[in-house]
């Protein structure tokens, strides 16, 4: 049963439509910077004369992988993220985004979108003021310092993912970029976060569809991150992703008949 499972490496993830953005980052270098200037005037003014090329960054010591077939779309992860970082509940503030189409067909009816802590963090690379940075003191997590952020949205536009994993939030009435910090800075949660610590989304997900890993996932498209986190207990509920799977416990309705 469930022989097709490949832990942490599912081959059947829904393919994302390739877009122009997908070709922006190759071989560790940003090869197209025209989009950088097509942003706000503030950004244009702040753009350095020449974007850094072929920069190298120390790899993050932590990543979030997920299983979009296991996700039930309850949005608890999003609300946990919003709560621990901002003290409120708001899907738009969440640094992990879950999108779903109630009328859609499994498995394409859910898209999970956490930050990938990219090998080449384009948000860091493209930030004109250094607000996005690699936190070398905390496991090389890619972070954004909202105090430094000027709200130019460059990182939103340059993020190679759809939807962009940098998130636009209002802080003290000003628009700022934010992103997943693996819960390094959670003013409303007294847990140690970051690599080696806990993440609110991982802890709160009732389906255990998000997992922290220390090893860098395959950077190709979604396959490296959208992995199989299900075991036989899941399939035995009758929740299969392949009609050839026959759960050990056949979910046919049976009634015992009372005592």
């Amino acid at each position: 049963m469930a022989d097709d499972k490949k832990a942490l490496n599912r081959e059947a993830a829904p393919k994302k439509r390739l877009s122009r953005r997908d070709f922006l980052v190759t071989g560790g270098a940003v090869v197209a910077v025209d989009a950088l200037v097509a942003v706000t005037p503030a950004a244009a003014a702040a753009v350095p004369a020449a974007a850094p090329a072929a920069a190298t960054y120390p790899a993050s010591k932590g990543y979030l992988v997920y299983d979009s077939r296991k996700c039930a779309g309850c949005t608890t992860c999003m609300l946990s993220c919003s709560l621990v970082h901002y003290g409120v509940q708001n899907l738009s503030r969440a640094r992990i985004q879950i999108m779903q189409d109630s009328f859609g067909k499994f498995p394409g009816d859910v898209i999970m979108a956490p930050c990938r802590q990219c090998k080449v963090p384009v948000c860091v690379q493209s930030c004109p003021v250094g607000a996005a940075y690699v936190d070398t003191e905390n496991g090389n997590v890619r972070r954004i310092d909202s105090a430094k952020c000027i709200g130019c949205k460059t990182c939103l536009k340059m993020c190679p993912q759809q939807p962009h994993r940098t998130v636009w939030v209002m802080i003290d009435g000003k628009g700022k970029s934010s992103k997943c910090d693996l819960c390094l800075d959670t003013p409303y949660w007294d847990e140690k976060g970051g690599p080696g610590g806990k993440q609110a989304c991982v802890e709160s997900c009732p389906m255990k569809a998000i997992r922290f890993v220390a090893e860098m996932p395959d950077q190709k498209e979604t396959e490296g991150y959208d992995v199989n986190l299900r075991n036989d207990h899941w399939y035995n509920l009758g929740l299969v992703d392949n009609s050839t799977i026959e759960p050990k416990r056949n979910p046919v309705w049976k009634v015992g008949g009372g005592e």
Partner: protein, 681 residues
């Protein structure tokens, strides 16, 4: 501002096409959801009662709770209130509710609820995008089924939205979410008393006929999308509570006693496991599917399938239509019910009734009740489609069927006969018999002393009846009677509250009075005002903990106080539930309710029970038993009612609330109005 609330309730008058607000603070004493809805109903139209449900004065009130938009487990439901045209003989002020994500989006948009007054002269829908609210023409939408309506409205609200992308509602208002839409279908448009409200493909407000009220107001839909904050009074405590609650959830990777609780059968519905609510994906080969949750639900009882049919429907939403030999067409038949916007819990007894009349030779082509419906082809898609279409569009006999079960029976002159002998299996106020009132008495009494089928499975129904029915109960009858009632604060410590024998401590006892009161109070506050799901709450026991103790009564105030900043006990909130129930009862009294009306049809009393697994205390010993052959004693039921009215502070002679009861609850103005009508208890 107090946590959990956005601070304002949207007030839309369709007759004058005006939009206003109500300060939530004015009604905070009622908690949220149902409590606030009842208070607003009383304030706006209480003194005009009685009038009919399709009168423009009737209101549609859709209230969120302080939990809506938060990750409070199992709080994603939207309470709908107003006078219910399905109900009989009086269209009581009633409630229905539906799951999904509507109230979450409403809260993110900055609204604690919606009150709709009046009626439009042309079809309209209400568009809520954060604080921008408009009444839009429904041209091009009126006439659509519920699924097309939601997709078309989503396109109109967010024409630039692409699934899987961010969209900007306005400057600095970004979201990846799509609008949450609730609407009526053709059945509602045509004022069917069976008209449901649909949100998503399968989330119905099925009872009471609120789809028909939408139609009477020429209101096709309400859409909400927002990007704002839901404030939380104590975020750290709220996060801690959410993580604490994990111990009560089904552990998806390592469930407790997986072989026992993870198998098909009754535990599929009651163990808290994902999916299981959709009964149409149990046969091999299974259709690939996911468990699909309402907002913030840790269970996810619904499914979304690889075929895209039967999505998000559960229980009766997957059980009303059966197409023999085809799961595929059975799913699609039930989906057709959702698209027409027909209330499943009324369509089910109606179809059975049609079959019974046909078998008796009363209904059919050339029969006493003449119809072209293909009644000789039950179990086919063609039959199901023909019947549902006739009802939804009021074609032929469908014009009478659209009046729902009770009024259809009345129209053909068979109500008294067929309801009293059970041919038409209605039990309480025109809604279907659900669980045997002679055995699971609290379900029957709780419905009769309310305004519709109780529909609260997490009372002693799932935890006790279904557990016993499984044939493999995880607690003995003695254990469950003690553990379950331990959680029933403030009446804890009386195990006879769940004695379903007909002995001295059984279904007519003072202990049962307390259980029914507890159910009504919990229903009104936690379920109604808190937006709780009746499949998750209360949780007096659970198979998911080692000691089988559930989250009730610790969880409810833990979460509520963290969100709102209140500092009250479970018992305090239950007394608020008593207050809300008393207010509802006062409104019913203004509509004509009297204790003499609170009686079951004859067959409920007289037909010997076929048996119903329950806890019973017999000959000094707790046991699971069925009570087969039992009938319900009329005199003892009346005596039970008398003691119940006294217990709740109502006049036992008529069931009317008393002044001192109302004044203690700060409902003096309600007492004043009842007195002017000569209906003060």
């Amino acid at each position: 501002m107090k946590g959990g609330y956005t601070g304002k309730i949207l007030r839309v008058n369709l007759s004058t096409r005006t939009i206003g607000t109500i300060d939530t603070a004015k009604y905070e004493e009622f908690g949220g959801g149902h409590g606030i809805g009842s208070a607003i109903f009383f304030d706006l139209v209480g003194d005009q009662l009685p009038f009919e449900a399709f009168d423009p004065r009737n209101l549609i009130i859709m209230m969120a709770s302080p939990f809506s938009g938060t990750f409070m487990p199992g709080s994603g439901r939207c309470e709908v209130q107003g006078m219910g045209p399905m109900l009989y003989p009086v269209e009581w002020f009633a409630h229905s509710n539906f799951g999904g994500r509507f109230t979450a989006q409403l809260k993110f948009a900055g609204w604690d609820g919606i009150v709709v007054e009046g009626a439009a002269d042309d079809p309209v829908w209400i568009n809520i995008v954060n604080d921008k609210v408009t009444i839009e023409s429904a041209k091009g939408i009126w006439g659509m089924d519920t699924w097309d309506t939601q997709e078309e409205i989503s396109r109109r609200v967010m024409p630039g939205l692409r699934y899987g992308e961010w969209a900007e509602l306005a400057r600095d208002q970004e979201t990846t979410q799509s609008p949450a839409v609730v609407c009526c279908g053709p059945a509602g448009e045509n004022r069917s008393r069976m008209g449901a409200l649909l949100h998503g493909p399968g989330s119905q407000a099925a009872l009471c006929g609120f789809g028909g009220v939408f139609g009477s107001k020429k209101l096709k839909a309400i859409s909400a999308i927002g990007t704002g904050d839901v404030p939380i009074a104590d975020p750290k405590a709220f996060m801690a509570a959410r993580l604490w609650f994990r111990q009560f959830q089904w552990d998806v990777d390592n469930p407790r006693e997986a072989e026992r609780f993870g198998a098909g059968g009754p535990y599929a519905l009651i163990s808290g496991r994902p999916s299981g609510g959709n009964v149409l994906n149990r046969e091999l080969p299974l259709t690939p599917a996911r468990a699909a949750a309402c907002a913030s639900c840790p269970r996810g009882c619904r499914m979304r399938l690889a075929t895209g049919d039967s999505n998000e429907s559960v229980c009766a939403g997957t059980m009303v239509i059966t197409v023999n030999g085809s799961v595929k067409f059975t799913r699609q038949g039930n989906d057709l019910m959702q698209k027409y916007g027909l209330g499943h819990w009324q369509l089910m007894p109606l179809l059975s009734y049609l079959e019974a009349l046909h078998k008796k030779g009363i209904l059919g082509k050339g029969k006493q009740i003449d119809t072209d419906l293909p009644l000789d082809r039950p179990g086919t898609f063609a039959y199901a489609e023909a019947v549902m279409r006739a009802i939804a569009y009021r074609e032929g006999i469908g014009d009478d069927l659209a009046e729902a079960c009770a009024r259809f029976a009345k129209k053909i002159g068979r109500y008294d006969q067929d309801v009293n002998d059970g041919t038409l299996s209605l039990a309480y106020w025109g809604t279907a018999n659900h669980y045997d009132p002679a055995i699971e008495a609290e379900w029957g009494f709780g419905s009769l002393l309310g305004e519709r089928d109780l529909m609260l499975h997490q009372m002693s129904n799932y935890p006790i009846h279904w557990m016993a029915w499984s044939g493999d109960p995880y607690l003995t009858a003695e254990e469950v009677s003690r553990l379950y009632t331990d959680a029933m604060v403030p009446y804890q410590g009386d195990p006879f509250m769940v004695d379903h024998s007909d002995g001295p401590t059984g279904i007519y006892s003072d202990s049962k009075v307390k259980q029914v009161a507890w159910i009504k109070h919990y229903e009104k506050f936690w379920i109604g005002a808190g937006g709780f799901c009746g499949w998750r709450w209360p949780m007096c026991i659970t198979n998911n903990t080692a000691d089988r103790r559930g989250a009730t009564p610790e969880a409810e105030p833990k979460f509520w106080n963290a969100v709102t900043g209140d500092n009250r006990t479970f018992a305090d909130y239950m007394e608020l539930g008593h207050k809300i129930y008393t207010l509802d009862r006062s409104i019913w009294t203004l509509q004509g309710r009297h204790r003499d009306m609170e009686v079951f049809p004859d067959y409920i009393y007289d037909r010997p029970s076929v048996g119903h697994d329950m806890t019973m205390y017999i000959d000094g010993r707790w046991q699971y038993a069925k009570g087969t052959g039992r009938t319900l004693d009329r005199a003892k039921v009346e005596d039970f009612k008398t003691r119940f009215y006294k217990f709740e502070g109502y006049n036992p002679e008529n069931g009317y609330p008393k002044r001192d009861t109302l004044e203690k609850m700060n409902l003096g103005k309600v007492a004043d109005l009842l007195q002017t009508r000569g209906k003060l208890g």
